[in-house]
Symmetry: C2
Subunit: 421 residues, 2 copies
């Protein structure tokens, strides 16, 4: 029998056309017995022979999924409490939303226990009317809802290692997550306070023991900044800034100050400890860029990825996430032959600005060794760079904002590993 | 000082124009000191004086939000275990996504404990090749992600009471939730099995002890039905069908068979116990409609709603959710004078088909008693009916698919209650 999928070939080594993922294209694979489903009759399993457990107050994942948790959550920086990071296990997730319980964490002095009845947000500095808001007043302002990503500027740093470390997708790239954020546009609160003509920047300060502080251009504050109060439908989780955080779509994550207690309008950036001792990019000439706000265009294949073994040749779905701090993802391309040929992936709709976008491609693995790669292009036309090009542009001292293309090697035995190609 | 908001009036009794929620309109309220924020200086709270708690494996809501849980979760039907319903506390949520832990539940014999390694899905009946799928084979098929609502056909039934019961928003309307669902289009699996020319319907059967079963037209199966494997990014929660459920966008919730074990392709509907003893609509002439699949166009104001007291006159945000089983929400109108005048609400983007849509309107409460109402119009042109019109159309025996307009009474003391107007 001729292989009915041949007309759908989109690039070398088994990549198939994204029409496979469009409604009209579903019939194209009909009758091809893509996989090894077995004929059989129905049997009655043990769990059908007695009533199950009753309703619950607040649900939790299945106990069979107990291996899915944040990566590295138990490790604080030496001599500190709650200072460090935990990562989202991207390889176990699908879709766009990150479950709030699995959103990555990056704390500079742990998660403060803030009583919402005592919470206050001060807006002062170069304003006509310094104002203090409590939660009851904040929730009466107009709110908006947006689904957007948050990424730590140190994400994917492991790819800067000289040799490819034996790490998984979440271990390397798990400092990015996406949530539905609901809050009050910061512009409305700044208008209430009345920014004076001298105001050009603001300094946002957190209510944690580290008083994490960052300078933000006022233009961003009046563009799409939120004082976020809700995450994925419910009040913010403690580790994401309960009861209120700044949210700066597309900007490096640490600028979205959690547990937001104070916004001072200023004429110049404050050059705080957190934006000078860290989070600056050392360039090839040894000088540092003063600020790098936008997170660059990026993508990663989450499946297949290390830990997910391909047990036999045949059809697989290549799936991953793409994002850009500069707007929408325009296109994602996938290679199944180590970067020699590329096929356009299907994107799940709706594609949202400054949000994770799920891409999908069908791949018929022939059982031979190869490497899988993805590269994203955003609506600004920026293209995710290959590793060599990234290193050449950014020099040996680069440490933040790593957006190079990830390659996953698939061995003949189906094992998947991190490689440099 | 003249009220700077007068030019934004959109309907009687303080409703303001939805321009307030558009970016360009934010400046319109500038300098008006909309609320009672207080000038003050920053102080250092107790939680800033010591490091907070460390990272965690799988996060949970703040303990200060412990009052937010599913409503009625502790009550099973007499003589049964786990047979009943729990409701989403809509009045505590914002945005579109329902946190998975708060998704409503409706079980007919509790939540089965299904071992994913033993899970199987059988597709048989009028097909060329009866097939059995396990989880490992299912996840290799092409998947899609969509954010859509699920609503129990018995939702909002409390509004059929002769007198308005003293209930809250979640108690009355909490059998609706929205999730990001990811799964394999059912059409692809049916194509694998090869539906014969006699096939017109399917019967879907659950793997719970009740073997919940419903007949579904094949046209729906080939349109937008999913075998859902992921909910809000992670594997399905047990109470939502772990490890796999049918998901029929826009159809009454019980048809989206949880713990899906079997799909039989048939020539006619099976007239199962679950679609004859329940879930049929008695009409005014005493006969029953055979099937009512689509959930009708509907909306409800979640804030203000009972339990949320208005402590003083002034600006409030009216916010709620609207949805339709027939497609996108085209418009939501809000009344602050018991239905005499209506203003168009702002809709959070993107508006998605068969999904909850968050609407928002600004309202300046003058402190007097009144009733707040919302009505939704969908892209098919269907308009949510007033209570009297709904009862006239549906007769005294109606029990499912209640989509009448909800009115919340605001008393002079700020108390909010369920009323019929």
């Amino acid at each position: 029998m001729p292989n009915p999928l041949t007309p759908l070939s989109a690039a070398a080594n088994g990549l198939m056309h994204r029409r496979l993922f469009l409604k009209a294209g579903a019939g194209l694979v009909g009758g091809s017995a893509l996989l090894t489903a077995q004929p059989a009759a129905a049997t009655r399993a043990a769990w059908m022979k007695a009533p199950g457990r009753p309703m619950s107050r607040y649900g939790a994942p299945s106990e069979y999924e107990s291996s899915v948790g944040r990566i590295g959550f138990g490790v604080s920086q030496p001599g500190t409490t709650g200072s460090g990071a935990s990562r989202t296990p991207l390889e176990y997730l699908n879709g766009v939303i990150t479950p709030s319980g699995l959103h990555f964490e990056r704390h500079h002095s742990g998660v403060p226990d803030i009583d919402p009845d005592q919470y206050q947000l001060l807006i002062h500095g170069l304003v006509e009317r310094p104002l203090k808001f409590n939660l009851e007043s904040l929730v009466r302002y107009p709110m908006v809802t947006r689904t957007q990503f948050l990424e730590c500027s140190g994400n994917s740093r492991a790819l800067l290692n000289r040799t490819a470390a034996p790490l998984g997708c979440g271990e390397i790239h798990g400092l990015v997550s996406a949530s539905e954020w609901t809050g009050v546009p910061l512009s409305i609160l700044l208008d209430e306070a009345g920014v004076t003509t001298q105001g050009r920047w603001l300094v946002a300060e957190g209510g944690d023991a580290a008083m994490m502080s960052r300078s933000v251009p006022l233009a961003k504050a009046f563009d799409d900044a939120l004082v976020a109060l809700y995450q994925n439908g419910e009040r913010l989780r403690p580790e994401n800034g309960y009861p209120a955080r700044l949210f700066l779509p597309g900007y490096e994550g640490n600028m979205s100050i959690k547990w937001l207690r104070r916004i001072a309008v200023t004429a110049r950036p404050a050059m705080t400890r957190d934006e000078t001792s860290k989070y600056t990019d050392l360039q090839p000439d040894g000088t540092a860029r003063m600020f790098t706000f936008d997170m660059a265009v990026k993508s990663v294949i989450t499946s297949p990825s290390p830990g997910l073994v391909l047990h036999q040749p045949g059809l697989y779905q290549i799936s991953g996430i793409a994002w850009s701090g500069r707007g929408k993802i325009a296109r994602v391309e996938v290679s199944a032959d180590s970067g020699k040929s590329w096929a356009e992936a299907a994107l799940d709709e709706p594609v949202m600005s400054k949000c994770l976008t799920r891409f999908r491609a069908a791949w018929r693995w022939d059982g031979g060794p190869t490497s899988l790669m993805s590269r994203a292009i955003d609506e600004a036309g920026k293209v995710q760079p290959a590793r060599a090009a990234y290193l050449e542009d950014n020099g040996p001292s680069t440490s933040y904002h790593c957006n190079m293309i990830q390659a996953w090697h698939v061995a003949s035995n189906g094992d998947v590993t991190n490689v440099y190609v």
